[in-house]
Structure formats: structure tokens, C-alpha cells
Symmetry: C2
Subunit: 434 residues, 2 copies
């Protein structure tokens, strides 16, 4: 293969301007405008695209961080960067001076993630495969060479990681075939701002159109409001659907326990983000208190990095972990989390819904299924499809399952007209009266 | 008292341009330029000044965050904001949309901290007292009303906090008198980039000039280099000084244990930041492994928020905790950490050294001593004096103790000529060849 030296990096601040109708709303975030730092790495062998993800304000900071980090990758070969990603990761995670603004979180970390996603997009495109299959063609040693174990070594050693990966090698091709046929189960997310009628209609229509039978409700603003909505859902759908709930971090630990106990009668599958995402002891207490009610405790979309994730998983704080494609630094840091989860038997349930996330996470879930932890019945992938029109290759859901991506790359390329329309602050979507 | 309505907020990006001689260097940060987002809140009753603190790059992000958060405080009364700070804290900690970029860490959180520091500066100035004394005049109920317990309630209840505060009320004035006379013990920090001769000379001269007898060495780049320097220090000074070491997060947990065991012969008081600042289980393992060697484990300057601090303290992960005046949202969030530390008997040893930090932390340490946890023999305050020329009221150290501030406010006002000189990127310090 010829070389693929990075000759330039560009980043665009793309913000989808939502109406103020409750789209994207939850207990912590009354109004959002899903946004992406949209990163293109240019090489003599083609272009790679990667995104970060934010809720609007602050997106410019992640863009600024990408610009500041770009010199780390310019002049370097994409294939070499991927092969030795552990060392690139360490550079991206520890930027000169600005490391202090994190560390291991915030705009620089997310900017590094967007940059890494672009690198892996091009790397997979060069192999003519979707990312999940390109990664699944690597040996355990090649995968381990991409991972920095420094802050998780006390929870997962390099040898343990290698053993977990080695176990799955024999069955990889069988699993790939099965995934291509069956995809993975997925659920749909609704918003706190919608009325009961809208909520029931939305569930009904997603069931009919996509065969989805698991639905997430945002809760946590007011207990009686939550009860009323859950009651309406259970009365309308009986036990034909699974109900997941999400409090977006608004509770203290004792409040989370009390609130969820009083909702237990509605047969809830999981409570997501009951409290602060980096509260390991708190999640462990909530999980222990809710065990008898059968409600799982899950978190992850705001988990800043792999070592906080590792503590949540190894510390018995979560029943399932929600990986995120944009909060940590590229697929390898997600793989590190998935390996820790495999060791502790914790299922991987990716966070999605935001612009581009629906498209990215099936790759990660698929790699986990093929190479790390096959057949865990608790696995379920978030898929909302809310931003599908902005992507030429949107994720596809049917019969309640998300299909595996087949286009080469880690595809989040946006249509040029979309990027022009939603460019912030000068695109027509932002200059025209809203 | 008349009102003090905020009429405007300004923020300046101040960066002290250091030579590349190793000043401010450590194992994680080879070159720094201590910097401050310099915040002024203007009211009809005077001006309050607050700073954040960074290492240079990224300072503009914290400034940007302050500008974005400013509308939260404009039009509101300073005294009312302080009296009900728990609710203001919650607004500042959860900014619209940009909360996602944190949460509870990063530029928005630090920006909120700088803004809060300015509010408390003016509040104390209006009372004609240095902040530590103005805070020490509040009742336990008034103090508790400033604190948001949401994410620490499972570790420290409101009633427990009130009881801790109530216990100290009777002796407050006696303690204030004693602190005014004696100050608090302090230590000096050296840099990893200095030669052995420079290191010995620096220790010698700080001992002679300021009577300091505890010194921190930066370690963690190379074991033999660390041994050589520690050996030189012990040979030169014998047991006349206490030696503290700081690895600035460069180790994994097993590596930290091994490295520190091999340095134990040098009679080390503490190891600071052995690993990632949010690695609670990791610090607990290191602390447990080093117990027999008598080396304390400390961290905190990169601890993103009070609930991670509470986990480190309650989880038995640290022997002492290093509060920071700029990383969390104002004095109340630091007070929350100090209350948790008091419950668990963990000493408070403030982080300082950076521009403005030497001046801010004596207020916090003094309040802790007066109102929360008096007489803990492990308390020691960092004081470097490296940036003292930039402040009209620099902290004062003599006989190895830092004096208590006596000027009204939470004083970090910089001289106008300093702000002009180091304004980034257009001040003479940055436009002239360096």
C-alpha cells in the first residue's frame, strides 16, 4: 500500500438548529442543538472524516482544540499512527500546557477524539472495509499495541487483555457472518419535553416502522410527572415493550434510590445516569439498593475517560456500560473500556441519538461482539434516527435491530449542502430568523 | 449596607511568559507559562476581582467561558448571590448546552470558579475584612446555605456538615487571634528542570530567607535521576528538612508503588499525584501499599470537582487532600471538600505556587482552621513566591510560616502595568522577541 501522510487538517463548527419544541430535551438539558466539530484529515491517499459531538454551545471550543492538536498528526503516516496508536494516544491526551484544562476530559480530550475518529475513518477506507471489519482483521497483539494501559493497569493487565482477545479469534468469521445477517438489538429514545399523546404516538410509530420494542423515557424533573407518563405507557402498551429510563444526572444518591423505588412497579429495565457520571461510590450504592427491584444501573455517555469507566465497571457500580464514540480518544480507548467490561461481565450498550452517533456506534458494538464479548443478552444499542437526513449513509434499523455498516470507513461524512446550511455562526440556518 | 448589583463583567487573558529554563517544569509539563483569566465584576458598590489559573494554552477557553457565564450574574446583587450561593452554584455548574463539554470539569467549571472568586472578593471587601475572616463571621446555617450537597450527600449529610461547623463556633475568635500571630506552616516547591547545584542552592536560600524547612521535589521522569537528586538533598541537608515528592500523574498504579518503594530510604513525607487525579481505586491501592513505609499519598490540584474529592477522601484514597482555589466553583465548593475531609480526619494541604494561588489559598486554609478542623498536625500550605512581584499584596512567608492575609477581600488584584505587560496575545511580553 502507498503512504498516507497527513498534509492538512480542517475543522468545521456544524450545529443543527433545533426548534424549541422539546427535541433533545431531558431533565438536565432543556434545549439542545446537536452539534459536531467536523474534522477532515487530508492525505495524499484520500480524506478521512471524524466528528465530535456536543449539545451546541461549547462546540467552538472543541473545534479550537482540534486546530491546536492538528500539528501532532500533520506530516505523519495514517497507517503508522494507527499501528502505534498507544503512543499517539498519549500525545493527544497530554497536549502541551492545555493538558491542565482537563486533564483527561473536556474540549481537548473531545477534540483529540474527533481527530482520532478521522484517522480511523481513513485507515478503514484504505482497507476497503467498514471500521468494525477492518479492526476485526487485526490480531490480538496488533489490537493491544493500540491501547495505553497506564491508568487501567491495576484493573486490567495487558496479558489479560490479550487473553480476552485471543479467546474470540477462532469464531470471528462466524460472528461476522451472523452480525451481517442479524445486526444487533436496539432501542429508541424519547424526550422529556413531549406530551403524553406525542410520546405514545412516537412509540407506536417507531414500533410500526422499525419493529423496535424497547423505549427510553427521560425522567427526573418531577416524580408525579414521571409516574403519569410511565403509567400511560404501561396502560397503552402493557408488557409489549421494554421501558428504560434516564435521569440525566439530576439526583443525589439517596434521592435516586427513593425515586426509582417508587417507580419500580412499572417494570423498568434500567435507570441511566441517576447521578454524576464520575460518582463511582454513588452508582455502586444505587445499584446495590435497586438490585432487588431488578432495575439495572447504567451510565457512560458523560464518563470522561477510560479510567473512570474502568472504575465504574470494576467497582461494581454499573450493570451495563454505555460507551460513547466521541467523548474518549478514538476507537482504541473505547476498546480498552470494552475489554475491562468483558473481564467483569458487564454488557456494552452504546450511547447514540446525537448527530453522527447513530452511525458510529454500530461499528464499536460490532467489534465488541466479534472480538471481545459475544452473545451477552444485555447488549442493546441506542438508535434514534433523529439526524439521519444529514448523513449520506445513515444507520439502518428494521425488526428492532440495527444493521451493520457496510460502507468502507468509519462513516460520518456529511453532505456538503448540510455542512453549508448548518455552519456556525454564518450558515443560513443560523443567520435566518429561527 | 447599600446594594451591590453587578453591572458588568470583564475578563482579561493574562499569561506570564516564562523563560524556557525549567521554571514551572514537572514530569507531565515540560514548559509552562502560568496564566490567569482575570475577572472583574463591576457593581455600583465597587469592583471585585477573581482569577482562574492555567498553564498557558487553553487560558482563552476559560476566558471565553467566563464571558458566556457572565449573564448569569449580571443584574444580581452580590450579597444575595453569596447568601444563596447553593442555588447560584447550581446555575454556574450547569450552563445551557455547554454543560456537555464538562460536566463538572474543564473551562466552564474553571470559568465559573473565576467568576465566583470575584464575587467573594467584593463580598468580603464590602465587609471590610479579608475573606477568611468574613467567612468566619458566618453562622453554621449561613455557611451550609452556600453549599450544594447533591453529589456528596451519600458521603456527608447536611446535618453532619452543620454539626462539624457548630463544634468550632465557640473557639473561633481564639483561633483567629492565634492565626494572626502564628500563620500556618508552609513548604516550598522546586522544579524538575533544575540542576542538582541549582536545586541545593534554591533550598538553601529559601531556608535562609524564609525559614522554610519542607521542600517538594518533582520526580517521575527517570528513577535514577530521582535517586541522584534525592541522595544529593539528603547528603547536603541530612534530616534538617522534610522532603515531599510529586510525580504529576505520570505513573500507573503498580509503577507508582514500585517507584516509591525504591525511594522510601530517603524518608519521604508524601507522594503527590502518583497517578491520574480521578483514579480513586488506584490511589487507595497506592496508599495501602505505601502505608508501611510511612509515605503519605496526596492529590487534589487536578481533582475536577468536590464530588470526586469526596470520593478520594471517603474512599481512603488519600492521607491529605490538596484543595485548589481555582479548579472548583468558588470558596463554597472548597468548603464542601473541607467538611468532608474533616469528617474523615484528612488534613487540608492547599495547592499553590501558580500565579495568584499563593495569595488565595491562605484564606481557605485559615477558614478551615478557624471553623472546620483546627490543629491537624498534617496541615501544610504550599508557598512558592514565584509570581509575587505581579501582585500588590503578595503572600508573606517568614520562619517557615505563611502569614494570614489582612487586606479586605479575596485579594488577587494585579497591578495595571502587569496586566498590560502580560496581556495575551497583544501585550509587550508576547509581541517582543522572547
Amino acid at each position: 500500500m502507498d503512504t498516507s501522510i497527513v498534509t492538512g487538517v480542517t475543522v468545521e463548527d456544524i450545529r443543527f438548529r433545533f426548534g424549541r419544541d422539546g427535541s433533545g430535551s431531558d431533565a438536565a438539558n432543556p434545549q439542545t442543538d446537536y452539534s459536531n466539530p467536523y474534522v477532515r484529515i487530508e492525505t495524499d491517499a484520500g480524506v478521512g472524516v471524524g466528528v465530535g459531538f456536543t449539545l451546541g454551545r461549547g462546540n467552538e471550543m472543541v473545534c479550537e482544540a482540534v486546530r491546536e492538536l492538528a500539528p501532532i498528526v500533520v506530516g505523519r503516516d495514517v497507517d503508522e499512527m494507527v499501528a502505534g496508536f498507544a503512543s499517539l494516544w498519549r500525545e493527544l491526551a497530554n497536549p502541551f500546557q492545555s493538558r491542565w484544562i482537563g486533564p483527561a476530559s473536556g474540549p481537548y480530550y473531545m477534540g483529540a477524539g474527533a481527530l482520532a475518529n478521522a484517522i480511523f475513518d481513513l485507515w478503514a477506507k484504505r482497507r476497503g472495509r467498514p471500521l468494525w471489519q477492518a479492526l476485526s482483521a487485526l490480531s490480538p497483539d496488533e489490537i493491544v499495541a493500540m491501547l495505553d494501559f497506564r491508568y487501567v493497569e491495576h484493573v486490567l493487565t495487558i496479558n489479560e487483555a490479550r487473553e480476552i482477545l485471543a479467546k474470540g479469534v477462532a469464531d470471528r468469521s462466524k460472528r461476522i457472518t451472523r452480525l451481517k445477517e442479524d445486526g444487533l438489538p436496539c432501542y429508541h429514545t424519547t424526550w422529556i419535553g413531549s406530551s403524553v399523546d406525542d410520546l405514545l404516538n412516537e412509540i407506536e410509530s417507531v414500533r410500526a416502522a422499525r419493529g423496535v420494542s424497547a423505549f427510553k423515557l427521560k425522567i427526573g424533573r418531577e416524580l408525579e410527572h414521571d409516574r403519569m407518563r410511565l403509567k400511560a405507557v404501561r396502560e397503552h402498551f402493557g408488557d409489549q415493550i421494554d421501558v428504560l429510563v434516564d435521569a440525566n444526572q439530576v439526583w443525589s444518591v439517596p434521592q435516586a434510590i427513593e425515586w426509582m423505588r417508587s417507580l419500580a412497579e412499572f417494570a423498568i429495565t434500567w435507570i441511566e445516569e441517576p447521578t454524576a457520571p464520575d460518582l463511582i461510590d454513588g452508582h455502586a450504592q444505587i445499584r446495590s439498593a435497586l438490585k432487588e427491584s431488578g432495575i439495572h444501573v447504567v451510565t457512560g455517555e458523560n464518563c470522561p475517560n477510560s479510567h473512570v469507566a474502568a472504575q465504574l465497571i470494576a467497582g461494581g457500580a454499573v450493570d451495563r456500560f454505555q460507551i460513547d464514540a466521541c467523548r474518549v480518544i478514538g476507537p482504541p480507548e473505547v476498546i480498552l473500556i470494552m475489554l475491562v467490561a468483558a473481564k467483569y461481565g458487564v454488557a456494552i450498550c452504546p450511547h447514540a441519538g446525537g448527530s453522527g452517533l447513530d452511525e458510529l456506534v454500530p461499528h464499536l458494538a460490532a467489534f465488541n461482539e466479534v472480538c471481545i464479548a459475544s452473545g451477552n443478552p444485555d447488549v442493546i444499542v441506542e438508535q434514534v434516527g433523529f439526524c439521519r437526513d444529514y448523513f449520506p449513509f445513515p444507520s439502518v434499523v428494521s425488526d428492532g435491530r440495527v444493521h451493520m455498516p457496510s460502507e468502507p470507513g468509519y462513516i460520518v461524512d456529511m453532505k456538503p449542502e448540510t455542512r453549508a446550511q448548518f455552519a456556525y455562526p454564518d450558515g443560513p440556518a443560523w443567520t435566518e430568523a429561527g
